[in-house]
Assembly symmetry: C2
Homo-oligomer: 499 residues x 2
């Protein structure tokens, strides 16, 4: 991707987003994982540009992915809930909602510049037919609409379908087996082949492509194919990481072989922090950061991020920037009729120009925290409820920062907790309220928050209603497979979001 | 150092040990420090061999350094105390003891192969004249016998002397100023010049050299020289790291300029984990590991370690290995009349041959824990006392692993806590006592511990007695400077070691 700056390119650059699922900041060798089992990603980083300060848009899959593809915070694009205060919501099988038609997704916009688009892997923006990827700009899809949880009995709950384009081609634990006991599944290999085939086909057609490789082997239940099982020093989670690393090596290798390297923008990141609640066997590492997935501490939202571009960039980045940056690479502008939160990273990458911008950390419609420069202010703290914590649900195992990792929702809007993330990346030492540094940081953060909140027009929340009748009983294509199930009677109810 | 394997070398390779003070595993970019401010050390690692699993011999300065230079555990070489159970001891100004004459130090042994030896920086093996470096094999010394604590009033307690060879040339906070308010001190620059000068002189003389560069800018009170102050994103501690990184770059650069690169073994590590009790302004980072300096958790004893040699090695390593490896490079054998704990790393480095060996974690004469392969067993757990903890002395800030980070000394010798360090480097999830994995790990660890303890002949403890009269009142050379102080009457007493 070295030649991206060249104006002489015959066509706009290809765009390849490698989006991991629940992979943490600390899971790659280049980010300090002690076992150092990611030689291909480490090489990508050595040849590329590392973003040590790169953030997801939410500590959970669906909202983070909706934000990536729309360039907009979940509070704007509707991927949130108002059922209770400050709750994370996503798209399980019983969700009624999904990505609204009013949202403009990256693949749809890239069509204007002639791009062919494919999603491989997990969609998670709604599984009902009106929400599918091909309804929102993708030309191709191989993967699933929901997480690969299961197996289910196809009575109380159907197994999750796997789609090729518009139709189901099988279900997890059936045609696409995942062995929960051994951890064996061939899915990453299938997703790898889908990526390689797509790239080769577009190269043959001389068409610019957008490939969104959204694989999920590092989301519990974690899995790997046989050649990788048992090969990691880190256990099964590490096996999954090793297979992903190997696959990324093969994809980058193909780009080289096809001489696409200089005209392809490749970006690697993850949708949210490692799920420490599943650690150590089914969850990864957030390195030196506090807590994990589900939380608005750094462990929940700071992500590994590598652009295939030389250097290190201290630009505060967000997955939403991939939307705006991709449009910029294609010579397009983001839609002018709506607020866009994504930033064009090209000035940071090509000219080293840093932009002072905030990172907002939401749970539901509650602004929990904001980072500006090196300072992070928490307006609300919450890990999870005492009730759940006492049952063993722990998003911060082994970590306990007094007054910070709280099990009741604590409001600090009048006097936020502020951390200096350079000196204290682990959010362990709040600045003293009476220090000059605190007052100075607060003085810079407050107007940014006021401006954000004053101008904010929340989207209609899409993740409030659930109904067992909308589950994947009879997805398109089920007839051909003889795999249609009979849905129960509709019984809509408010979804319960405990976190 | 690439050509070290060549048998055709005209003389044995030079040996350069870069020993940091209280620098943590997580303090370098290559080990995942988010600010990534160590380009020279990261390059050294990229050109060299990283040891992700490398350990100090003790979580405190003096015993760790005594072990490095003798190749022997502190329990053997006497650098421990028996004043109370499981206590860390070191060499403050009032210590009566020091390195015994019966110990054979690396520079003394290297003399047999014609090496010229110099220590630059902190000695910490006893400050009374009989313990000085030049009495134990070093040809030259520039630096200090104790930590750079102070300033003192030269009445209740003298300022720490700085030596050139056999004589004091000034004192910290006097001729060698450290500004505690601004953090400014020129010491790292002086230590750098001492290193460069020594290397150039030995090169001119065509003599193999051993340089032990034991600098201390990252030990509280941390300091940096003016050009580096305020330049780090991490605050003053980061300023110190940046100056060290720059200095290492200059030293490696000189080796290149003098064409010494292929015949010099360079190794970078630290004497113990980051002092989290001083974080975030005066202490570093132990990355994903538990607790810090003073403790026998991974944060206390796992160290950054880089050999200037290509690759990554999973060999469990120890600072004591630098003793045996250095002798091996010089064509010498370790003394045969005593137990040596250091391993020759050359087979691991040159042929990738891994040796299964234990890492022992001691506090005083108590074996707290042992690591064998990926498994670590804790026989005793203790962070520090409730009494001190309640006063704010916290070696594990923000961390709290139930039953592991204990504030009373907890014995687990019958049923040790066992962690898998690959899956769980942060020591958060002890294996279940009734699991097959636990029983298997215990079955392999137990005989190793029995053998170790059965064969152990503890050395005479050297760190039990303290006396204000032995402080640095009138070090050799004080007359020339007019800096002799009058010592008080001898009043020997047992030292108090609270941790
Ligand atoms: Ca996720
Ligand atoms: Ca130390």
């Amino acid at each position: 991707a070295v030649g991206l700056g060249a104006a002489s390119a015959p066509q706009p650059p290809n765009i390849l987003l490698l989006l991991m699922d629940d992979m943490g900041w600390g899971d790659l060798g280049v980010y300090g994982e002690p076992s150092r089992e990611t030689p291909n990603l480490d090489r990508m980083a050595a040849e590329g540009m590392l973003f040590p300060n790169f953030y997801s848009a939410n500590p959970l899959c669906s909202p983070s992915r909706a934000a990536l593809l729309t360039g907009r915070l979940p509070i704007r694009n509707g991927f949130y809930t108002t059922n209770a205060h400050a709750r994370n919501a996503y798209t399980p099988q019983e969700i009624v909602g999904g990505i609204p038609d009013s949202e403009l997704l990256l693949p749809k916009l890239l069509k204007e510049a002639g791009y062919a688009s494919k999603i491989v892997g997990k969609w998670h923006l709604g599984h009902r037919p009106q929400f599918h990827p091909l309804k929102h700009g993708f030309d191709e899809w191989f993967g699933s609409p929901n997480c690969h949880f299961g197996p289910y009995d196809n009575r109380a709950r159907p197994n999750i379908p796997v789609y090729r384009d518009r139709e189901m081609v099988g279900r997890f634990y059936e045609e696409f087996p995942i062995n929960l006991k051994t951890g064996e599944a061939n899915l990453t290999q299938i997703y790898l082949q889908e990526a390689l085939d797509f790239i080769k086909r577009q190269q043959a057609r001389q068409r610019p492509f957008f490939l969104y490789w959204a694989i999920d082997a590092t989301h519990a239940p974690v899995y790997a194919s046989k050649p990788f099982l048992g090969t990691s020093r880190r256990g099964r989670y590490g096996d999954a990481v090793r297979e992903i690393d190997d696959s990324v090596g093969k994809i980058l290798g193909l780009l080289g072989d096809l001489s696409l390297r200089d005209n392809t923008f490749v970006f690697f990141t993850s949708d949210n922090g490692a799920a420490l609640v599943s650690a150590p066997r089914q969850g990864g590492s957030n390195g030196p950061f506090l807590c994990g997935k589900q939380t608005t501490f750094e462990g929940g939202m700071r992500e590994p991020a590598i652009a295939w571009w030389p250097g290190v960039s201290y630009q505060l980045g967000s997955v939403m920037d991939l939307f705006t940056t991709s449009l910029s690479l294609a010579g397009l502008k983001p839609p002018g009729d709506r607020a866009i939160d994504g930033l064009d990273l090209l000035p940071a990458m090509l000219q080293g120009r840093l932009t002072d911008r905030p990172i907002f950390y939401y749970r539901g419609n509650t602004l929990m925290a904001v980072t500006l420069g090196q300072y992070k202010a928490h307006f609300w703290t919450w890990t999870n409820s005492w009730e759940e914590f006492r049952r063993g649900v722990d998003f911060c195992p082994g970590q306990n920062v007094s007054g910070v990792t709280t099990h009741t929702q604590e409001e600090h809007t009048e006097l936020p907790l502020i951390f200096h993330l350079g000196r204290d990346p682990g959010e362990r030492f709040p600045l003293r309220f009476d220090s000059a540094e605190y007052l100075d940081a607060l003085g810079r953060i407050s107007p940014v928050v006021r401006q954000h909140q004053g101008a904010l027009v929340p989207g209609q929340p899409q993740l409030n209603m659930c109904d067992r009748a909308v589950m994947n009983w009879a997805p398109p294509g089920c007839e051909k497979l003889g795999k249609c199930l009979t849905p129960p009677e509709p019984a809509p109810e408010k979804c319960s979001w405990p976190h």
